[in-house]
């Protein structure tokens, strides 16, 4: 039987970008508001899972030629390195700092090193969740 997925695939092509935008918003709004690397990563991975559900594994792997196991490993590496960087300045492991800068268009902005740690957490969560779900779905 010929499958007809027109509505699901058309809705998914739009909804994926909305979910990705919302995931990035959750990731960037952490540290002062509800949000952060973990739930931002979960939302980003739900967008990837929606792509896998609407299309198939081979098409998505051709469109996103990324090995998600390497993404998880790179995320953990970034998190550990951002913690080790504090040792170079004589602080304790995983110490974080922040400062205020005057950026063009944005005005006075708070830049903090927690963003690097949270980026590693988000990458690790995306890699682990997508890898687990794709490996579970492999039957036969």
């Amino acid at each position: 039987m010929r499958e007809n997925d027109v509505i699901l695939q058309t809705v998914s092509k739009v909804a994926v970008f909305i979910i990705l935008t919302f995931g990035m918003y959750l990731f960037l709004s952490g540290h002062h508001n509800p949000g952060g690397g973990f739930i931002g990563g979960l939302t980003l991975s739900s967008a990837v899972i929606l792509l896998y559900i609407a299309f198939d594994v081979e098409s998505v792997n051709k469109g996103i030629p990324v090995d998600f196991k390497l993404v998880a490993a790179a995320g953990v590496l970034i998190s550990v390195l951002s913690g080790t960087g504090a040792l170079l300045f004589g602080a304790d492991f995983l110490s974080q700092s922040f400062a205020y800068f005057d950026l063009p268009l944005l005005g006075k902005t708070e830049l903090t090193t927690v963003v690097l740690f949270e980026a590693g957490v988000a990458l690790a969560v995306v890699g682990v969740v997508v890898t687990i779900l794709i490996n579970i779905s492999e039957d036969v």
């Binding site: 499958e3 699901l8 508001n33 509800p34 899972i49 559900i53 198939d56 594994v57 081979e58 039957d139």
Partner: protein, 94 residues
Amino acid sequence: MTTIIFTTAIVLFCVAIGMALVRVIKGPSLPDRVVSFDVIGVNLISVVAVLGAILNTAAYLEVILIIAILAFISTIAFSKYIERGVIIDRKRNN
């Protein structure tokens, strides 16, 4: 006055969630359970929205979006499981 109206709305939404929960447990077939599961998700969104209106805050808007996204994806996954028997397929055959 508006607080009474909002509280009544929340109580009525909770009654609707309870009736949908009865359908989830008793439902004779799998599509009944999936549809009532989606109804529970929509009612949860409404409860959170009314709660945000009572407390006069914008802090619950992310919760609404998260519940909407998860309900959308889970409904699609259940529907595809009912229709095809497989959720993430290896290669499309068309």
